[in-house]
């Protein structure tokens, strides 16, 4: 049996890589990809913890979270495409139209 700590380490590593990507990139798509890496990490962590405490509830929560994250990407990508249509760029440092 693989110790659950190993899963924690993998999840922490994935989360750290995602956080690095989210900080250094200027491209909105790259930032979204990095945030999705962080989502994968927390999903793995959720299931690793659920396997020690309450498996069924953890699995149900994971299924709902996957569905809602799919919705989130479904919203985020059209926003980025529309942003590109409006401004011609997906560089988040150059988009200032929403500033007051």
């Amino acid at each position: 049996m693989i110790p659950v700590t190993w899963y924690y380490v993998v999840a922490a590593l994935l989360f750290a890589i995602g956080s690095y990507g989210a900080v250094v990139h200027k491209n909105a798509v790259r930032i979204l990809v990095s945030l999705e890496l962080m989502f994968n990490a927390e999903l793995l962590l959720l299931l690793a913890v659920a396997s020690t405490i309450e498996a069924v509830q953890g699995a149900l929560l994971a299924i709902l979270v996957i569905a809602l994250t799919s919705s989130e990407i479904g919203v985020a990508i059209p926003i980025i495409v529309l942003l590109f249509r409006l401004t011609g760029t997906v560089d988040v440092t150059r988009v200032s139209r929403l500033r007051g």
């Binding site: 750290a16 956080s19 069924v56 996957i66």
Partner: protein, 165 residues
Amino acid sequence: MSLSSTMLEELAFLALTGIAIGSAIIAVQARYAVYSAVALGMTGAGVAGLMALLGFGYVAAFHLLVYVGATVTFMAFSVIMLREQPGMLKNLVPLAVLSAIMIFAAITVSLSSMGIERQASTVELELMDAAKALVDKYWFPLLLAIVSLATIMIEGISVARGEET
């Protein structure tokens, strides 16, 4: 010489970890965003494998079908429509590396120090039990998920038709 089941499990864990972490590094460092999206799909597949190894076979299948199969593919195809933009905030790289190391250490140390261990090698998860609990006990979150997915479908059609509000 035949491999024992524990050894096979460990080998599978190492291979899936390699796929997940390697693809994650490619996703962050790839030159083009479309390769990043494809690498994200590979990471999702690796994570799904790790879920299956934990005993959550149904969740892994759902993750593979919905997340990797539909969502990340949608992302990869959408990225093709965008012109590639310049890359990174180079002055933030040392800070980002430092924060990533601190996040890794914080998560690993805090969770490992809890000392929680699994009681059984695989999780006993019956699909019927999970479906019954979802409909009887967690109907409201299920309703919210259905409404949000329906909203996304309408939004997708609206964006594809180029409608302006």
